[in-house]
């Protein structure tokens, strides 16, 4: 369970409770099936889930489909990796220097709320409609959460732990590697989780608006050509991709947070 926190499901699930979730899913799908078959919801707008799943099954044989999935994941992955490579070292540098932080705080506060999608037109001009546009957008958008979280993490270094390390004769480099960085790790893990979801949203957005290859573009095309079942099938796939990625990162984050002391800020679960 990644989104609804462990606290909310803290007590171990009793045997009957274990099946509730599955029941919920089955119930929802069944309800939708009935509503659409009974034309309560017009099925040309919203096909029965069974039809959508059938289309989905068909997609699994399509090379084009997998190409789309690959393109989206490429944009997401390359963008996230680049964002990490840029934002984390930058965050470490800024976060460990009080001077740098004071100097850059205001510009960061101004630049940070800029919706990355505002840059789409500029990106189209400069990079065209291909992969580079998508990459740029993802990198720009995904860098911010990582940067901010890394800075927080660096600043949250436990002074007591640092003093203890110094008392044990550890030099500045060793202190950095053994106390500060591990202390910042949970924040970076949180930043990674947030950035991962931002990266996926921006990748799909780029595909939708700019027309780069990928699931977003195919969904848009399906909608324009009234291939409704295909559109829904692709949306479900996008959801599955999103769910797998967010579960993976949330799981990793939890593991890293597991050993960290309880001095956490109130973090939103996005």
């Amino acid at each position: 369970m990644s989104a609804i926190s462990r606290r909310a499901v803290a007590r171990r699930l009793s045997p009957p409770e274990r099946s509730y979730g599955a029941l919920g899913v089955v119930g929802t799908v069944a309800a939708l099936e009935l509503l659409t078959r009974g034309e309560v919801v017009a099925s040309r707008h919203f096909p029965p889930p069974s039809a959508t799943f059938r289309t989905l099954g068909g997609l699994l044989d399509s090379a084009e489909f997998w190409g789309d999935v690959g393109s989206t994941l490429q944009g997401w992955g390359a963008g996230l990796a680049l964002a990490f490579a840029i934002a984390v070292p930058l965050g470490v540098t800024i976060g460990s220097s009080a001077v740098l932080y004071r100097a850059l705080r205001v510009p960061i506060e101004f630049l940070r709320p800029i919706p990355s999608v505002a840059l789409i037109p500029l990106v189209i001009l400069v990079y065209g409609s291909g992969f580079e546009s998508k990459l740029f957008l993802v990198v720009f958008g995904a860098s911010w959460p990582l940067l901010i979280q890394t800075i927080y993490g660096m600043q949250d270094a436990d002074p007591l732990a640092l003093d203890t390390a110094r008392a044990f004769g550890l030099g500045p480099v060793a202190r950095f590697a053994r106390v500060t960085l591990p202390g910042a790790a949970p924040y970076i893990a949180t930043g990674l989780r947030i950035s991962s979801s931002v990266a996926l949203v921006l990748a799909v957005t780029a595909e939708l608006v700019i027309g780069a290859d990928g699931l977003g573009r195919s969904i848009s095309l399906a909608q324009e050509s009234a291939a409704v079942e295909l559109m829904y099938a692709l949306v479900v796939v996008t959801g599955i991709v999103g769910w797998l990625l967010s579960s993976a990162f949330a799981g990793a984050e939890r593991r890293v947070l597991h050993w960290h002391t309880a001095h956490r800020r109130l973090e939103a679960a996005p």
């Binding site: 609804i4 979730g21 004071r102 999608v117 505002a118 037109p121 559109m231 949306v235 990625l245 109130l266």
Partner: protein, 259 residues
């Protein structure tokens, strides 16, 4: 004293230096895509001060406000219900997990199919994007409420409705606000994208349209406006949050001090 002066001058100086740098570089450069900053600023004044406000800015903001409000009402309401009922929460958890993992822009074509191209669609998609952070944080906030608070209320036989209104909701409010803050950013993003994809007015539409017609300074002015709006909305929201949650800061400070 000198340190403070140094710090203050850094804080003011760096942005000034950056803006000056942008100014100089863009005036020197011949690039078509990066017009001189003075041009952008004058276009900004011409376009946005106050001509297009009614045409584009207000509709954008109205959609955002509507979508966000709907998301807040729905998210907090459902969040309360699910937070209070463990069976309901467990039942809906996987479904909610899956739905909220769908990147909202992917749902724009779906919204177009279901609702056509109009403000209903745009407001709906904004609400859809905004609801998840609020809902999930509301659930967390309610389910994670300190049991002593609830027990106290129960021991005084406070009625269920009063308990929810006066104990559960305030206790969960800090977490809900954290969710709303995320929702705001997400909402702005989706508002812009929905206007770029399927709209005939709005700031997002304007920016993309300017790009298509190669009205570059106008495009930049729109980007600048979006940046300012993003900043202003965040700033305003933080102010409101600080006011409403004044008690929370004080309480945590005293709790941490005592602990």
């Amino acid at each position: 004293m000198r340190r403070r002066l140094l710090a203050a001058s850094l804080e003011l100086g760096v942005p000034v230096v950056l803006v000056a740098g942008w100014w100089l570089w863009s005036t020197r450069s011949e690039s078509f895509y990066y017009p001189p900053l003075p041009d952008i600023l004058s276009t900004f004044a011409d376009t946005w001060l106050f001509e297009r406000v009614a045409d584009d800015v207000l509709p954008s903001l109205a959609r955002l406000a509507a979508g966000f409000t709907i998301a807040a009402i729905f998210g907090i309401g459902l969040g309360l219900a699910l937070g209070l009922s463990r069976p309901a929460r467990l039942t809906l958890a996987p479904t909610v997990e899956f739905l909220r993992a769908i990147p909202t822009p992917a749902l724009i074509p779906v919204a177009i199919v279901l609702l056509g191209i109009g403000d209903t669609m745009r407001v709906t998609i904004i609400a859809t994007a905004c609801v998840w952070p609020i809902l999930l944080n509301a659930i967390d906030g309610v389910a994670g409420i300190d049991t002593t608070l609830v027990e106290t209320a129960r021991s005084y036989r406070v009625r269920r409705l009063d308990r929810v209104r006066w104990v559960v909701l305030p206790a969960a409010l800090p977490q809900i606000f954290a969710g709303m803050r995320t929702s705001l950013s997400v909402g702005i993003l989706v508002m812009v994208v929905s206007e770029m994809e399927a709209s005939t007015n709005g700031i997002g539409f304007f920016v993309l349209q300017s790009q298509r017609t190669f009205a570059i300074p106008e495009m930049w002015s729109g980007i600048l406006l979006l940046g300012i709006l993003g900043y202003a909305l965040n700033f305003g929201f933080t102010r409101i949050e600080r006011r409403v949650l004044r008690w929370h800061r004080g309480w945590r400070a005293s709790a941490l001090g005592a602990a």
